[in-house]
Amino acid sequence: MSARPNPLQGRPLWRTLALWMVPTLLFTMVMGLILSMQSLREVADSAYDRSLRGAIRAIDLRISTESGGLGVELPYPLFESFQATADGEILFRVSTDDGLVQIGDSLLPPPPPLTTGQVVFYDALYYDRPIRVAAYMRPLDPPLYGAEGQNLIIEIAETTESREAFLRTVITRTVLRDLAALASATLLLAVGVHAGLRPLRALRDRLDRRASDDLRQLDPSGLPREVQPLVQSVNRLVDRHRIQGEAQRRFIEDASHQLKTPLAVLRAQIDRGLQLQDPADLHAVLRAMREITDRSSRLTSQLLALALARNSALWSSAAAEPVDVATLLDGVVRLHLAEARKRRILLEVEADAHTGSLHTTEALLFEAVSNLLQNAITASPPGGTVTLTAARGVDDMAISIRDGGPGLSQDLLRRLGSGQRFNLSGNGVRNPSSTGLGLNIVQEIARALGGRLDLSNRPEGGLDAVLHLPAEPSGLKAA
C-alpha cells in the first residue's frame, strides 16, 4: 500500500471485511478446537486406557495364591514391552484391601471406592507428575489365611507424557490447519474483493474520462447490485445538475429576451428625449422611461423568483415545513390590500383555522398565491370581487383564486395546459404593468411543490385559477 504514489485515505474494503470475518472465524475455530480437544482427549484416553486395562489383566495372570500366600511375578518384563509403544513410566501396585499385602509403588495415591470386577480409570499426581491410573478389584478366592471377603486390588498407572504428546501433536496440526484455512480465507477475501470491485474501477475510469459537460446518465448494468443504488444516486445528482443547468440557461434566455425589448424601448425614448427641447415633453418622455424601468425591475425580480422556484424544486426539499394555509392566505391578502382598495376591489377569503396545513415550502407557496392574486386584481374590473378559497380534498389541498375579469383566451389556455412555455414575446403588452411571467412562475412553483395549476374561464366570466397541492410531501419533481 505504501508503494502507491498517492496513498488513499480510508480503510480498504477487504480489510473492513476481514476485521469482521477474521475474529469471528478465530472465535469459531477456538471453540471448535476446545470441543475437539475434549473429544480427542476422550479418544486418546480410551485408546491408552485400553492398554492399561490389558496390563491389569496381564498382571492378574501373574498373581498366584497357590502357596497360601500372595505371590506376584514381577511385571517389569511386561512393562518393558508396554513401554516400547509408549514413552513414560509405568507404575503398579498390587494390594489387598485390608492393607496386609502391598507390592509395588507404595506411594501411589489411594484409589477411589472400587466395585469388584470393574476397572476404574482416573487421573492423579505422582511426584508432581500427572498419571493415569487404572484400578481393578476382585475377590481373592480363596482368601488368604481364611479371612472373609478379602479383595485384591491391582493398580496400574502410566505417566501421561505420551498421550499428552499425542494430543499436542494432533492439536498442533489442527491449529496449523485452521490457521492456514484462516490465512487462505483472508487471502481469498482480498482477491475476491479486488475482483468484485473491478466493475467499480471501470466505472471510476469511465467517470474520469468523461467530459466536464457530459451529464448523461451512467449505465448501472454490469455493476454489483449493492453499488447500483449509489450509481442511481449519482445519476440523480447528475440529473439535478443538468436540470439546474437548464434552468439557469432558461433564466438567462428569459432574462435576455425580456430585457431586450425594454432596453430597446428605453434606447428609443432616450434618443427621442435628446431631440426634445421643451422641458414638458422631456418630462413626459422621462416618465415613460421610468415606467419602463419599473416594469423591467419587476420583470427581473419575477425572473429571479422563477429561477428560485426551479432551483428550490431541486435543492430545497429540506426546507419543507408545515404551513397553515389560512394564515398564509391572510398574509397574501394583506400584501395586496392597498392595491385592491385603490381600485375598490373586494377581496374575500374563504378559509378558516380548520382548513389545516400543508407540508411544503412556505416562501414558494406564498409567491405562487401572491402572483395569482396579483393577476386577479389586475384583471378585475374596478369595484369587482376576488375570492380566495382553500378546500381540503382527500389527499390534496385546492387553493383557488377567482376574479371577475375577462379571463384568458382559448389559445393561451391551451398553450398553458399543454405545458408549453409561455411565449412571452407573442403575448403582447396588453397590460403595461404585467411582465407576462406570472402564470409561468406559478406553474413552475406548483410543479416544484408536487402539485399543479388548473386554469379555467368561469361561465359567468372571469378566471378560476386553482392550485392543487399534495397534503403530504412527495418526491421532488424536476421541472
Binding site: S67, G68, G69, L70, G71, V72, L74, Y76, P77, F79, R93, T96, D98, G99, L100, V101, Q102, I103, G104, D105, S106, L107, Y127, D128, R129, L144, Y145, G146, A147
Partner: protein, 329 residues
C-alpha cells in the same frame, strides 16, 4: 534401637548349654520351613540355613522342606499360622526383625507377638544399601544428595511397603540426611530377592536390603554392589570393604534378627523338640561356617530367652513406629 553384639549374644546363650540333653521326643512328621516371601530373600536364607544346619548336625534324617508363602512380609504366613494352621507340629516359620516391626505396627492383622511360640533365633543380619554395580552412586552420601535434589528421581526398592523395616532403614537415613522421609519414592516387593531382580533390571535405583541376601546375590554373580551396611562397625571377611552408614555420616545401626516360630497350639513337647533341635544344630562345629557363608553373625537365642527378646524388640519398634507415625489403629 536394638544393638546386639556378638559378645552379648554369646552371654545370653551361655546357660542354654546346660540344657543340651538328648532329643527325647521324636521328630515331628513332615517338617517344613515356611519362608513367608518370594524365593531369594532373607527368609529364604533363614530357612536354607536351618535346612543345612539340621542336615549337618544330623537332627533331621531327611532335609527340611522349604516352602514359600509370600504376602505382606510375613503377614499372610503369620495370620495363616495363627488362624488356620495353629497346631501343625512340623511347621516352622521364618521371621526377621522386619516381622517384629510389622507386628509392632499392627500390620499382621489383629495379632500380636504373644500369638505364636517363638522357637529360636539363628543369626543376625544387618541392613544394607544395594545398587547395581554400574550405578552412578558410589556412596550412600551421593545417593542421599540425589534424593535431596529431586526425591522423585531415585526409586528405592525394598521388601515390604511403607513402614516395613526396609522402609524404616531408608526413612532413618533420610531423616539423618535432613530429607523428609515422606518424599522418598518407594517400591515395595515381596522380599529382598524380588528387589534385587528389579534392581538388575533397572526398574529401581537402590534396594534397602539386608547384608545376607545381598551378598548371596553378589556371590551368585549378580552385578550389584553395596553402598553401606547399617552395622556399628565394618563387617568381617569380604564385607570389610563396605563402609558403614555411620562412617558416611548417618549414625544408624539396623541389626536384623533371624529366627523361627511355630503355631500357638503346637504342643510343649513338639515346641521343646524344635528348641533343642536348634540348640543342637547351632552348637555343631560346622555352624559358624554356615553362618559365615551366609554373611550372618551368630545370635543363638532359644525358648524363653527369645520370647523376652521379642517382647523387648517389639516394644522398641512400636516406639520407633510411633516416631514415624506408622502405628495402625
Amino acid at each position: 534401637m536394638i544393638r546386639i553384639t556378638p559378645r552379648r549374644a554369646v552371654a545370653l546363650s551361655a546357660p542354654l548349654f546346660l540344657l543340651t540333653a538328648s532329643l527325647a521326643h521324636a521328630a515331628p512328621e513332615r517338617p517344613e520351613c515356611i519362608a513367608p516371601a518370594q524365593p531369594g530373600g532373607g527368609f529364604d536364607i533363614t530357612c536354607k540355613l536351618a535346612q543345612a544346619a539340621f542336615t549337618e548336625a544330623g537332627v533331621l534324617e531327611s532335609p527340611l522342606r522349604v516352602s514359600y508363602m509370600p504376602g505382606g512380609i510375613g503377614a499372610v504366613a503369620y495370620s495363616t499360622i495363627v488362624s488356620q494352621r495353629p497346631g501343625e507340629p512340623g511347621t516352622i516359620v521364618a521371621f526377621s526383625a522386619g516381622s517384629l516391626l510389622n507386628l509392632a505396627q499392627g500390620k499382621f492383622g489383629a495379632h500380636d507377638e504373644d500369638d505364636v511360640r517363638w522357637v529360636a533365633s539363628v543369626g543376625a543380619d544387618y541392613g544394607a544399601v544395594v545398587v547395581p554395580a554400574d550405578s552412578e552412586y558410589d556412596s550412600l552420601t551421593a545417593m542421599m544428595e540425589a534424593i535431596k535434589a529431586d526425591p522423585g528421581s531415585v526409586i528405592l526398592g525394598a521388601g515390604g511397603t511403607i513402614g516395613s523395616q526396609d522402609w524404616m532403614k531408608a526413612a532413618l537415613t533420610a531423616r539423618a540426611a535432613g530429607i523428609d522421609h515422606k518424599s522418598m519414592r518407594f517400591v515395595a516387593f515381596e522380599g529382598g530377592g524380588d528387589c534385587a531382580t528389579a534392581l538388575q533390571g533397572g526398574h529401581v535405583d537402590a534396594c534397602m536390603n539386608d547384608v545376607g541376601d545381598s551378598q548371596a546375590a553378589i556371590d551368585g554373580g549378580a552385578p550389584l554392589k553395596m553402598l553401606a551396611v547399617f552395622s556399628p562397625e565394618r563387617l568381617p571377611g569380604k564385607l570389610a570393604d563396605v563402609p558403614t552408614a555411620t562412617e558416611q555420616g548417618y549414625a544408624i545401626d539396623w541389626p536384623i534378627v533371624r529366627g523361627f516360630y511355630v503355631g500357638p497350639e503346637v504342643s510343649d513337647e513338639d515346641y521343646q523338640w524344635w528348641v533343642q533341635a536348634f540348640e543342637t544344630a547351632m552348637q555343631a562345629p560346622g555352624y559358624d561356617a554356615l553362618l559365615q557363608s551366609r554373611n550372618l553373625l551368630p545370635l543363638p537365642l532359644t525358648g524363653e530367652e527369645l520370647d523376652a527378646f521379642v517382647t523387648e524388640a517389639v516394644a522398641n519398634y512400636r516406639a520407633l513406629a510411633g516416631e514415624f507415625q506408622l502405628v495402625q489403629q
